[in-house]
Symmetry: D2
Subunit: 347 residues, 4 copies
């Protein structure tokens, strides 16, 4: 089989670099154009020195000329820039957008949280949602989920879908800093973030809130109330999402931790990248760093009357670039796991 | 006035070291005996090299002989060891226990979470609770609160006490590692905790859960349901507690973020060590490291129907040693703030 | 005695914040004008939230109007901006410059490493150098040393001055990130510096090289060759300088580690802020964080024929703001240690 | 071709886990017995949760029974334990020892730095040393180099071998904490190492000193004096070695940075895993994390009269497990790079 020719727009950022790390490990692709904005003309080795095999590649500008002629184009661009480019790429090209532009189905939600015109809605790149894997097979446009929505949705989905909790969830997610990107901002300096934990987007104002709501609501045919708070903690990668919801009021006889664990284990039994840990072993982000795996655990807090579930993900891997490659594989009809691993790098 | 002579039992640990750091800054005390267990006989300089003025002090064994003859004895011992020692210290000695032994009023809660016999209940060292400051004035026994309960309670108390939320709270607290102490454990190695976030004590099993429940319930004359999850994050000090609860069902006309902020600002207007930040400024742990201050912020998530409040504390300072000194000041009739600061060390 | 009225120009940066942290603990000063450039008009609480007692202070612009009328003016400005301001402040005002402008005596060295015109040379604020304390008493202008030069000089001075090493030293200094300042730069993002060690200014190109050379050369009446390499490591504060030099060729009978330690102990016996650790205890930065102390240790590597000494300093405290306050105290005729501590904050 | 059956003795530690991470990516091996000491009987998933594909494997005890019947046995055991086991494994088995037991040729050096009897000397697993690759091809016993010696040797070898520096080198190496292993020790707790830099083994007492000396001396036919100081810094992985030496006294016309760079570039032109960065780009550890690459840069400090070179390595990858796999490939006659990558994981 001929290797697929793949371009990465936005190759100098964190998502772009992680895409290339994944693509370098993929047996069926050939890395084509790498593009950037202000960095066009620079060697990738000076921008992403960890990608040694591509050190001599020079970034080209992001435009139709450079992106044309590829089988797949990954877009790792600032929010709002994907629509215009995607519109000009042919329908025969698989376009995988790592940005937010095409994730939300509700234009009002887009407008409220992102502002500006809603670009549209593409097949949502979370194959683990019911029916979603089939929608992604052969797709030519894919919207890669946000990092927080990926782990929050996967950590809560079995409970929400089964109706064992009220549709009223609380998510507090401790996140590394790379999710905030590579643009220089004073509050993201190492001097600021090391030794420091801080909440942001509190009160439901973070842009990933409507996306989590959309995902969980799709499981129940109604609106799931989502209280989402991201917390920045001193590590470069990884998200640990602590999620909970009241046990369903109509649960006859309650729910034990064992029953909850069994439900989760069954729900993900066939999923290659979602792993429910053995009872009493709790997820930690370092187990999934560099990998496409999500580790999940669940229990029941009887005194508080809540189900509590915790999920861990690498925000750049399964949270962004790994999911993008997984979706590309589905779109191209390849084995879903090509170029991906469930092995993390620790310590 | 003669300086008060103060002993510290357990001077080689993190709580003990932080007590000494505070006491070195206190104008009305003289540091007497410093005791340890396996470290007795060693110079403090080899164990706590940051306490330079005490470098030549030698640790004595922890017993009645070494602790006798002081006006104040701080106990920074493993849980379960304070009772026996305290029983033998005279009623004229102020004993401030940084351990858990005397925090809980309910023997059943003690037995469930700690095991063994309940040692008893001492005045609880959180002067910011209603009526509590008066109980601490002139007390000769004080139980210093746990670090998580301190910040969780202070972050939720105004809302719970005012009845603007249902008595059903969720606390997810990102914590530095020093709360776990200085004993060598493989899962607390730097190699394990750096670059890693992990939840523990999930499902209401952490020992601080009944203490938070006790504190909040005392505000409403009923039981407040508490879902508490601690998350270990890669920093040595500090806790950031993200707290929320459903808005009270009987709130006529809802509650705005401004109203919630105003309520909090009023509640803590006269408190020297609890600071409600200006609207839209959210707490971060680095602002309180080394200080006795707690920074708090609150908002309302209308879509989720919840009040969300965030608090930051230095687990070793206001979370342990600072609170201990604050309570000692009250017990001795000194100015409550002697030896304490609201200035953190950042970055 | 009337408190001295003190202004801080550049109060929004790391050096400025640390100056204020020190000044808040100083019993003989009153904090006057706080100035900034782009941050003028903002409340300090939004910029330095750890300085709670000053949260409501508003930054004024940096100019003669705002800085006039103070007994002391601290300048914590970008290099090259101190000269013009200082020139307009009267000779009766004590001006303490935390920048580099007035540190170097040799205009050629200034021009080579900083470029532009050399502003001049002020009394150098390292009282531990021979004769230097006397020069600082009553001074009205003080150039605060750079952070690397402070620790490198103090770690090597006793050996160099005694002639027990060749005038040919190697310094490799692991540094936290705050020395690079608070300006947003992509390579200083938390995502970049966490989990990462990197050398910079290699080959003698760092601007602190001529300052170390100047200090050490002043001890021997000739030029000391200095090979200096700074290494950025993932911590916000602190420098650990590993220093070595060949044992002097004319040392009859060699030199033992004990002799080297004794020499160092004697050299710093009367220094309040330089502490030679007991034999076999090696400095670590966390012991000096927040303190004005420098911890030093020395040994002899017989096989390599070198003396090896290690020093630890808090780059913002004794490395900048602590030294500035120490020099202010000398300039004003106050007790040299006012507002300063040798107690670090650990863990 | 049949896959080679490979055992790992010491699978629960950091070196063992990293070996398995590499072996999982190796197309020509089948992972056989995994053994441990106190952890025998436990599932690997509870000890190395990042190695998801092996989660259900149970550790067996380390002995001849469990290790028999493999083509390759990796030993990742505490120093001193490899000799006895290796003696009983047949000569047809490839034994790759990640410990120190067989690295040193000089029994006196062994005794001085490690104590006890010298087990012997095996082919040294640094193929980049002159002639060494040929000695490793087809070998049945390999001693994997120490992490510090790997990066120190590779960073200095071209200069030492070419005689452009005096045989008198200084190495200061900033290291992450995983090199110290997974055994619980109080001074390696996260609370101790985060925010902290500390030197240890100062004065030539670190056990890797004689190994660096042996390597560099082998290049010149005489003894190279080595002053080596390791510095522990707050990161889990990676070593950055700052190395320097006086320019050779007999260099006619001196040496420029360009000439030094050219020499290094030529020396490593054919090495798959040693990469000399383009001029002015300096190594950083994050570029090599997870990879088998060593990044090197060199310059000349004219004022100090020294050549300065910096190298970065992942202590667990090319510094241990990657080198072990590289040597196994050579021993088995496989492609040297199988299972290895030059792509790091960043940020």
């Amino acid at each position: 089989m001929t290797r697929k020719r793949v371009a990465v727009a936005g190759a100098s950022g964190y998502a772009g670099g992680e895409l290339l790390r994944h693509l370098l490990a993929h047996p069926e692709v050939e890395i084509g154009a790498l593009t950037g904005a202000s960095n066009a003309g620079q060697a990738l080795g000076s921008l992403q020195p960890h990608l040694l095999p591509l050190a001599d590649r020079v970034l080209e500008p992001t435009n139709l000329d450079t992106l044309a002629g590829h089988d797949v184009v990954f877009l790792a661009l600032p929010h709002g820039q994907s629509g215009a480019i995607a519109a000009e790429l042919g329908d025969d090209v698989v376009v995988v957008d790592c940005g937010a532009d095409f994730r939300l189905a509700d234009p009002a939600a887009w407008e409220r949280f992102y502002g500006g015109d809603h670009a549209g809605t593409w097949p949502y790149g979370l194959p683990e949602l019911p029916g979603q894997r089939d929608r992604l097979r052969g797709a030519t446009r894919v919207a890669v989920p946000g990092c927080y929505p990926t782990v929050s949705t996967l950590t809560l989905a079995p409970a929400v879908a089964a109706g064992i909790v009220e549709p009223d969830v609380v998510v507090v997610a401790a996140s590394g800093t790379s999710g905030a990107g590579k643009a220089a901002k004073a509050h993201l300096l190492g001097s600021e973030v090391m030794g420091n934990a801080s909440a942001y987007g509190v009160g439901g104002t973070h842009r990933h809130t409507p996306e989590i709501t959309q995902n969980l609501s799709s499981l129940v045919g109604g609106t799931v109330a989502v209280s989402f708070t991201p917390v920045l903690v001193p590590m470069p990668r990884g998200i640990l999402a602590t999620c909970s919801a009241p046990l369903a009021r109509d649960l006859a006889g309650g729910l034990t931790a064992e029953e909850a664990h069994e439900l989760y284990a069954k729900a993900y039994a066939d999923e290659p990248f979602v792993h429910v840990l053995p009872p009493d072993q709790w997820p930690q982000t370092k187990s999934v760093i560099g990998s496409n795996a999500v580790h999940v655990q669940v229990t029941v807090d009887e005194a508080a009357g809540r189900l509590v579930a915790v999920g861990a993900v690498d925000n750049l891997a399964k949270g962004t670039a790994g999911a993008a490659v997984q979706c590309m594989n589905l779109a191209l009809g390849l084995d879903e796991g090509l170029g991906l691993t469930t092995v993390g790098i620790a310590p």
